[in-house]
């Protein structure tokens, strides 16, 4: 079985998007379960789209146990349409016949939650979002998963592979990279592609980015001033006044 995990670099420290870390862990865990129970080998590849520095999250993925890393190098402005990202990822996902493509439910920076399901649509694959549990695939290429709904509900689905799953937090605890694997990872080659080589014509952005703003306030937001004891005292007085304590 071949699994591809799409990961993204986020934040000022350039860490792996935490939902993608859960996706990678789930892929590696499926590999462990598969190889133990069915003694069939599984490969876990990772792909990222991002600037040159994003190579470090692929190295980290090697340290966790990923086999091959693809890096589509793209220096992007502040906004990239999820459609553009999904189109780029699809170019890597078509390189090998993957049975499963995993990614996080969303990125913590752009929070669209659209890249996974769009990638599925571009590739003509079925997709389940917010996956909170996976079972081992059966012989007839079906994988049973649970997706998280609201208020404690879950849908149990059987999905025919190849398929795309977007992974929700809470499904697992991502492992730390192992030093031995990190050292070995130094030898591993990251397969790097220039965005412009794959797509000589730029992919059309579907949305225009205007800017950022602070979210609207929904409550008065009175800030208690003073020292720590002052603040504690003010809160205590306020709660007493409202007869809450």
């Amino acid at each position: 079985m071949k699994i591809l995990v799409c990961i993204k670099q986020v934040g000022s420290e350039g860490e792996v998007n935490r939902f993608d870390a859960h996706a990678l862990e789930e892929a590696l865990d499926l590999k462990d379960r598969f190889e133990t129970q069915l003694s069939e080998s599984v490969t876990v590849d990772v792909v990222t789209v991002g600037p040159v520095e994003a190579a470090r999250i692929i190295k980290r993925a090697f340290g966790m146990g990923a086999d091959t890393g693809y890096h589509i190098v793209a220096e992007d402005p502040e906004y990239v349409s999820p459609f553009v990202t999904a189109t780029r990822l699809a170019s890597a996902a078509k390189k090998r016949p993957y049975d499963l493509i995993l990614t996080g439910i969303m990125s913590t920076d752009m929070m669209t939650g659209q890249t996974g399901p769009m990638l599925a649509k571009i590739m003509g694959l079925p997709c389940a979002t917010a996956v909170i549990k996976t079972n081992l695939p059966t012989n007839d290429n079906l994988i049973e998963v649970e997706r998280e709904l609201e208020n404690g509900f879950r849908d149990c689905l059987k999905i025919r592979m190849p398929a795309v799953l977007t992974i929700q937090a809470g499904i697992n605890t991502p492992r730390y990279p192992r030093l031995s694997k990190m050292l070995a990872a130094g030898q591993k080659e990251i397969k790097t592609f220039k965005e412009t080589d794959i797509f000589p014509e730029p992919i059309e952005e579907r949305e225009i980015y205007i800017g950022l703003a602070l979210p609207e306030k929904t409550r008065s937001g009175r800030v208690l001033e003073g020292s720590l004891p002052d603040k504690a005292e003010q809160l205590l007085a306020l709660l007493k006044e409202k007869d809450l304590i």
């Binding site: 459609f83 913590t108 920076d109 929070m111 939650g113 659209q114 399901p117 769009m118 649509k121 694959l125 079925p126 997709c127 389940a128 979002t129 917010a130 049973e144 649970e146 997706r147 998280e148 709904l149 609201e150 208020n151 404690g152 509900f153 879950r154 849908d155 149990c156 999905i159 025919r160 937090a169 809470g170 605890t173 059309e204 952005e205 579907r206 949305e207 225009i208 980015y209 205007i210 800017g211 703003a213 602070l214 979210p215 306030k217 409550r219 008065s220 937001g221 009175r222 800030v223 208690l224 720590l228 004891p229 603040k231 504690a232 005292e233 809160l235 205590l236 409202k242 809450l244 304590i245």
Partner: protein, 333 residues
């Protein structure tokens, strides 16, 4: 004449209330300066295996015309069935806008549907306004600390998923009900006559107790708590109140520091206490949606930029453990 389409949210044969919020947003788009002169019409699509009753109910409630999308194979929601059938229906209508809910269901099918319609796709919309160039949509980014403003780059149809709780449902209309038009589109799986996604069952995690939903005071802990040990501090804080329940934001429950029965937010419990104290909770959209009916919200967080401060009555910028320590001392006096 362009159409604004609303996809009603149906779960387990019931209309989800977010449907009414979608209708409000559709009216807002319809009456926006750029679109008003084109006098677009709104239609609500109700996908179901047997949509007649649900469609009538929605037409009566809103006074808007309804398309009952009859999909005989739709016993339970799957993204595959939704995308296939909605795409066929909507392509023929060629709308200006398609509105769905930013819920587990809308987030599951809307991106694929948008691509199928060759549309602009904007998710998690929490505001709609317009300027001289047309409509501008805002959506949360960077862990909910900022809103990002976007507009469509072209004249393609625009699909939006709307954040629950953003648009207030309009008052119930007493006038004429909308017309109901039932259209049947069977789901025909393309490959080997088999569907790719099979719905097996829906299960519900049982809350071990219902204390959160009924609690008058909730003290809730978030990631400001750095170690499991520090939860003791939260418990002590809770004991200051005659009857307080302890809640938690999702990450603490994901890490198994507290059980699922403590989780507050869309994926856990929706609460409405008299007092809600958020201890080291930054305030994700899904958490905020779960506490919007709380009467009085106090937030304690050392990060002045924490999004929860914009949705609190009282804000205390402090380290949560230090603050609780000081508060306990004051209370003893």
């Amino acid at each position: 004449m362009k159409q604004i389409l609303v996809i009603a949210e149906i779960f387990a044969g019931q209309i989800r209330p977010i449907t009414w919020e979608l209708v409000t947003a559709a009216r807002k788009i319809k009456n926006s300066p750029g679109l008003k002169q084109l006098s677009p019409t709104i239609q609500i699509i109700v996908p179901a295996d047997n949509p007649a009753l649900l469609s009538e109910k929605i037409a009566k409630q809103t006074g808007i015309d309804v398309i009952g999308l009859q999909i005989p194979e739709l016993k339970n929601y799957t993204s595959e069935i939704y995308i296939y059938c909605l795409e066929q229906l909507i392509k023929k209508i060629d709308p200006s806008h398609v509105l769905a809910a930013h819920t587990s269901q809308g987030q599951d099918f809307a991106p694929g549907l948008a691509l199928g319609l060759n549309a602009v796709a904007i998710s998690g919309v929490n505001g709609i306004r317009s300027d001289e160039n047309g409509l501008i949509y805002s959506r949360p980014v960077f862990n909910n600390t900022r809103n990002q403003m976007l507009r469509p780059a072209s004249n393609r149809p625009v699909t939006l998923t709307l954040m629950p709780g953003t648009f207030k449902p309009d008052e119930r209309k007493d006038g004429e009900p909308g017309r109901v038009d039932i259209r049947k589109i069977p789901f025909a799986p393309a490959v080997c006559g088999k569907e790719h996604i099979q719905h097996c069952r829906t299960v519900k995690k049982i809350f071990e107790d219902q204390t959160l939903e009924e609690a008058k005071v909730i003290i809730a802990a978030g990631r400001g708590i750095k170690e499991k040990e520090e939860l003791k501090s939260i418990l002590k804080f809770a004991q200051c109140f005659p009857t307080a329940a302890v809640g938690a934001s999702r990450p603490l429950v994901d890490m198994n520091w507290l059980g699922y029965q403590h989780q507050i937010g869309i994926t856990g419990a929706t609460v409405a206490p008299k007092l809600y104290i958020a201890c080291g909770i930054s305030g994700s959209s899904q958490h905020l949606a779960g506490i919007k009916d709380a009467e009085f919200v106090v937030s304690i967080n050392k990060n002045p930029q924490a999004p929860i401060f914009r949705h609190s009555d009282v804000c205390i910028i402090a380290d949560i453990i230090e603050f609780i320590g000081t508060f306990l001392k004051k209370q003893e006096i």
